[in-house]
Structures are given as C-alpha cells and as structure tokens.
Symmetry: C2
Subunit: 258 residues, 2 copies
Amino acid sequence: MNRLIERDQLIEEWLYEAAKISKKSFEQTISVEEKTTRTDLVTNIDKKIEQFFIEKISTYFPGERVLGEESSKYPFTDLKGTVWIIDPIDGTLNFVKQKSDFAIMIGIYENGIGYLGYVYDVMRDELYSAAKNQGAYLNGEQLERVEDIPLREGLVAISHRLMTNENSDEARRIGRASSGVRMIGSAGLETTRVATGKLVAYIGASLAPWDIAAGKIIAEELGLIYTQLNGEIIDMLCHNKTVVATPSAHKEIIKNFK
Amino acid sequence: MNRLIERDQLIEEWLYEAAKISKKSFEQTISVEEKTTRTDLVTNIDKKIEQFFIEKISTYFPGERVLGEESSKYPFTDLKGTVWIIDPIDGTLNFVKQKSDFAIMIGIYENGIGYLGYVYDVMRDELYSAAKNQGAYLNGEQLERVEDIPLREGLVAISHRLMTNENSDEARRIGRASSGVRMIGSAGLETTRVATGKLVAYIGASLAPWDIAAGKIIAEELGLIYTQLNGEIIDMLCHNKTVVATPSAHKEIIKNFK
C-alpha cells in the first residue's frame, strides 16, 4: 500500500509538471503535423510530454513498459507485467484550436488489469484519479457512485465521426432518445463527465488503448459500464468502438448497435 | 456616453447578482417543468432571475420594454423604442443536468438596432460584453477581431436538433467539411466561442430572439457574420435558423442551405 501511495504522489507531481509544459506552449508557436488525416493531429507538445513521462518512468520504475500515443516504436502484442498507457494530450484538436478541453491521461495496468487511472483536465485544473477497488477522486475528494439514470433523462456525448458519417442512423437515433447530444472532442473529458453524472453516456467511434485506459478505471470504480459498442469487453491491444454509460443507458445503447 | 457607462455598470452588477442566484440554487432542489417538449425545460430559477431583471429595469429604466424568455405575457410585434431582450438561463438543460455550460444573457436594442450585449458564462466567471461600434470585451479586456479562418480549418458547433434529425444531411456534410463538430448546448456559449476564435461557426436550429440578441452584438463587433441559415438577416420577432461564423465559413455554410 505504501508503494501505491508513493507511486500515486509521483504521478500527480508529473501530471502537474506536464500540464505546465502544455500551458506554457500557448505563449509559443505550436508545431502541428497531420498523422493519418487532416483532423488527426500531433504537435511538438504531445511528443515533448510523452517523452517527459517516458524518461520519468524509466528512471523511477525501470523495466516497466510504456504504451504511448506518440511512441509508435513501442508496438504491443500483450499486456504482461506493469504497463503504463499514456495519452500526453487527449483532444489534440481542442488543444490546437481552442486552447482548452484537453486532458493528460495515464493508466497503469498489471497483466491487463487496470489499477491506477488519471485524467487531468488541465485548463479547469481538475484531476480525476482512481485506484482499483479504492474509489475515484476529483482533486482528492472522493466521488460518489453514479446514479443509474436512463438514457431518456440524460445528456449523451457521441464522437464526431459517428455523428457525421453518412451511415449515422444509430447514433442519431440514440441522440434523439436522450435529453440531448453534447460533443466535447476529448474521450477523457467525456468519460469524466459521465463519471460525475453530467452525462449518462459517451460513445466513441474508434478509441485507442491510450484514449480508454485511464478513464475506464475511473468509470468502473463509480459503477459505470465500459465496453465495446456491441457489449463485448474492451480489447486493450487495438482500437475499439466504445460506450461508457450508466447501467441503464448502457443496456439501451448496446441494444441499438447489436 | 456617461449614460451608457452608467447603464453598463448597473447591468454588470445585476448580472453578477443573478449569477449568485443561479449558483445558490445548486444547494437546493431545483423545480423543473417541461415547456413544449421533454427537452425544453424551465426551472423556478429561470423565472426568478427573469423576474429579478424585470424589477430592476422597471425601477431604473421605467418605460423601457422587456422581451424575456419566460414572460410569455409580453408578446412583441415590433421593436420600437428601447427593448431589453433577456435570457435568464441560456442552456437550461445544461444548468439542470450539468450545473455548468449555461449563460445569463442581456441584449438591449434601440428601434431594432442592437447597442449593448452581455453573455455571462457563470461557472467560468467569463463576462462577454459589447457596445455597438465600441468593440467587444471579456472581463473588461478588449477582444481582438476574429481571424477569417475557413470552415475546413476550424471546429464548428451545430445544434442537437439539426444533427440528430432524420433529415440532417446538410448539417453532417458541414460537420465533415470542418475540422470537427462540437456541441455545447448553449447558444450564448457557442457564439462566444466563435467570438474568441475557438470555433469558426455555430449553427442553430431554431433560435428565439433571447437566444440571439446579446451574442449577435458581440459577434458583429468582432467582424463575424450573424444571419439566418439561408443568408437573410435575422428577424428579431420570431424564431430563426441561424449561423454565426467567420466571413469565409459563413459563405461556405449558407451555400449548403440555400
């Protein structure tokens, strides 16, 4: 347990330091590159923050592996041992275009089981964290388990890709069945809004392990269900269509996608 | 000019006082009623804040008319004289479900011409204001004119109704032509995000005068274009399909809806 607290304190320090790097960048010109498409961006700041974490981890926890969004030189075929799953900036488009609504995220998995998760909403200074079986926290205050609100009575976040595709019938039907659709553009922030009861569900079109890892641990500690959109468990080694929701909303949503 | 400054100071005081009413309500149970549909809500707090403004205005500016969201006893057929157009809580669904992402809005029109506009983002403590031909401000700091970014390079907010309708082809096409869709669920906050360059456009499905009045004055002071979705000027006496955008994005969007 002492080792867990020590690890937790170190990670929080690193997150605050990484946040400073991200905020400081607003004073400079950020260098932006397109990855797979013109809306899949990476900046020098994403890379700098990921490198910062990799160096810290290799110094303090040598031998533990890092699966990071920007480190394509780390391809993974299993999650054996301790694996750090890192998104240096979740919501890079928001980071570039809005200078807000982005998060820094770390999930730590032991042989595939999540045991520590962190989503840091930098511009609101809101640090969401969770340890397996020990609850979830916002800036150190324990969060209450989420009320099981049905889809009809709640707001739902749906990813841009699902909502705007030619073939978006299911997504739009779910939108109409809810109280309203909200779109933030950061899987981490959308997941933490479900975790605090502001949304009843978040549906992602194609999330990578680093988009999922941290938020899933936090969500599950609060009684939420986080699966693939067809109801199957998340595969942490590839991209997934996802849904995280209250139990009632989850049941209703996966029914639409089966 | 002195009278304008005096009026501005009074309004700012009232807005901060109204914000306190809205925040204080989070400690109590808010009473929620459905208006036209289950997602068109009004709370006792909307009504209380509107009543607060009506009393202040009748005391300080007797004879000036008030067009308020919740005062259906004030039907208007013209905008002669000085008219206060008030939305006590813009984004009532967010207010109820998220306790954030709502705004208090006041626009003052003289014979149909907007001359003072206020959008107060309560939970972020961000007060956007503008006076005709005198620029727009955020918490007293003058805002820069918005850069003319094209649709392709910017994020765009689109209303829930347009995105989720059966017949949402144009909205989704615009979404795909942009960098990404964001949906906040408050016309005021979506407009001020365009005003600060975080979005290039906001498209509203059916906005009332109180959803439009304040934001339009702020947007126009910064070089943005605010019209109906078919390009015609806004009719401040009825509901409008709307677009507020940079000049380039505006041109591209109305082309799709003509």
